[in-house]
Symmetry: C2
Subunit: 444 residues, 2 copies
Amino acid sequence: MEAETCDWWLEMETEMMRQEDPQEESGSQWESVCGEQWTVQQKGDTGRRTEDGGRRSVDGRSVFSTTSVHCQTQTVSSWPKDVGILALEVYFPSQYVDQTELEKYDGVDAGKYTVGLGQKQMGFCSAHEDINSLCLTVVQRLVERSHLSWDSIGRLEVGTETIIDKSKAVKTVLMQLFEESGNTDVEGIDTTNACYGGTASLFNAADWVESSSWDGRYALVVCGDIAVYATGNARPTGGAGAVAMLVGPNAPLALERGTRGTHMEHVYDFYKPDLASEYPMVDGQLSIQCYFRALDRCYATYRKKIESQWQKGPACRNVKLEETYSSKEVDKAFQKASQELFNQKTQPSLFLSARNGNMYTPSVYGCLASLLAQYSAQQLAGSRIGVFSYGSGLAASMFSLKVSQNADAVNHTPHGSKEDLFPGTWYLEQVDDKNRRKYARKAL
Amino acid sequence: MEAETCDWWLEMETEMMRQEDPQEESGSQWESVCGEQWTVQQKGDTGRRTEDGGRRSVDGRSVFSTTSVHCQTQTVSSWPKDVGILALEVYFPSQYVDQTELEKYDGVDAGKYTVGLGQKQMGFCSAHEDINSLCLTVVQRLVERSHLSWDSIGRLEVGTETIIDKSKAVKTVLMQLFEESGNTDVEGIDTTNACYGGTASLFNAADWVESSSWDGRYALVVCGDIAVYATGNARPTGGAGAVAMLVGPNAPLALERGTRGTHMEHVYDFYKPDLASEYPMVDGQLSIQCYFRALDRCYATYRKKIESQWQKGPACRNVKLEETYSSKEVDKAFQKASQELFNQKTQPSLFLSARNGNMYTPSVYGCLASLLAQYSAQQLAGSRIGVFSYGSGLAASMFSLKVSQNADAVNHTPHGSKEDLFPGTWYLEQVDDKNRRKYARKAL
């Protein structure tokens, strides 16, 4: 893998786990779940999560926000600048199973899930939550925390594979949130192919902003899923959650143009033909092959498209790519050669997945949130984030996000409550796209 | 309804029938099926259809075709001209039930389905066909008849509510068709909200062509469904079929920019919560109300957006719109007042629906095919086609297509076989976008 061009790499659309003996590489920081790299981290807390608990750095944080494109009218037939992600919200269930408890309950060796899979906890939904409620929560939070009005949104699309109605879209359920505003002119419905739906929605939203259909309003991309597996090896790889992203121009996380590489193929590696069941049918070995092949094909297209010079990595010379997918020798050599690169570029993105598990469509965007939560905007400024999104079946894309040089300052509305300010205090209301600061005064 | 601005009107996303006594308005040309206007036409044939039968004018016809955008590279950051539908293919099953036979079988009054609903026949699939096979057929036909290479397609999205797998998209099944070409870089997956999926796919495809993601290749929009209802009043409103559309610039049917009006809302008028069943849950009266409300809201937005002067129609003055939806008095007045307009603008689009039934997502595009099949390109040249697409749940949009002035000639590759030409004969190979004609000679 010659991925020197990106400063960060997110790879995660996990649907089943690699069947390996967890003891074999006990303690390794490189266990794999369907091609995703998981890391062993310090033990987490147990019990019930609170919003203000230790995970506040990820949970519910609108990482970036702006009001600059609000209802602006499009008059020119060209693409707006830096279309991408303006704000991002993550929601996961308050309940979780500690993986050490699950190991005991399942009667497996201690460490099988916590060391072998590198998982600490697995989020799950009670009977009070389903795919609709997860998405309602994450969308309302994003809009409220970004101080948006509901009529400033012109498009909302949902990527999910948690199908509880074969006809009615989750999107239409979310229209309840818009009712009071009277805004019903909101394009986009639901889109589905395994874990890829969120990525398809993101691409569609960005295309919309660049097209003549755009009316100057924001797009919202929502992805959510509840990943539940039958009793057995795959069960500890479940999870649940939702991510909402605000998409528009002048974004601190801009989608790089003309570079994305896609690979689609007809395979039955992971699918859900039993419509009455929550559980998927999974061919684990096949899915790993497919994941690697998709990664190679997407990467080849991505590389071809950017036509840039790459710094050569250590492997894949004089070796047929397909033959390396199941080779333990190649696997170990890669792990060794890329350990430093992995620790530097991928490990920071695994914070949430280790603590909540697999969310299907939101997974890779949970990785993005994890990365953003662990570095300041100044630290990330100007860097490039590589993303590989895989959905079984299969649909996969590789693309990159460019972090703006001044992501922390421009088009920025400060977050958090103003309640603690004394009456009559002036406060920073907004920093506009020219770094001009606007202030308001708290009522006396 | 003040729809004078459009020369043709297509309205059809039927999911259930209006519960009326068919005898009450026997012979009327204005019976409604969920807000769609159906007409009584001459009795059709019975038995098995053949591809070259009486319906050849619609079945399998690639109405327009062009090779002009083939693999062109996009270098400017502006929208290409006239993005829209370049070619259109319709597929429906070879078997059908004659509605007079169904009346007898169901033991209802003669005329209930044929006169009351205006339906002649209803297509159905045998066990050899499912949603995947319907879409495979219609896509292969479009590509072959348009003389396209599989690698000239850069996007393919499927709109359907016939869900036979909760994770794997129909789109990935269609990738089998691309295998030999080696083209796997094809964006787009499946999209779902009742009958609206095809329209969402069309919008997404057009946005893609106008965005920086476009690589100069064609987009394919596919919609297909098998509409099956439980025994009872709704059963004769079923049907099955698929439509594929080729989308790109310089289209003879261009999507008019900046005019589309959308209305989305959370309602349970038609939905499929029983995942193990093919049958929907339907609240007929509610769905009619929703359809009309969506029509009014979309129309208001459409009208506002085009900001043009409208010739005033006969009704809706001093009347609350919502109150008119269930008023027989208003209904009859509208029928009378708009009869001529309806016969002129909408009736031609109902050819296929009367003979095949409700196709869900492809329905409104079957109306488009019906219209195109009954007029020459010269007759349609320069006209504007209004489209209202409704999917329960609900998602609805109104938009318009502009027929190019010279749709029959420019960017045109003649269809059909050249086998009958004598060896050594020169033949028309292409008419380019400046009406220049290019010829080739058949081998001796």
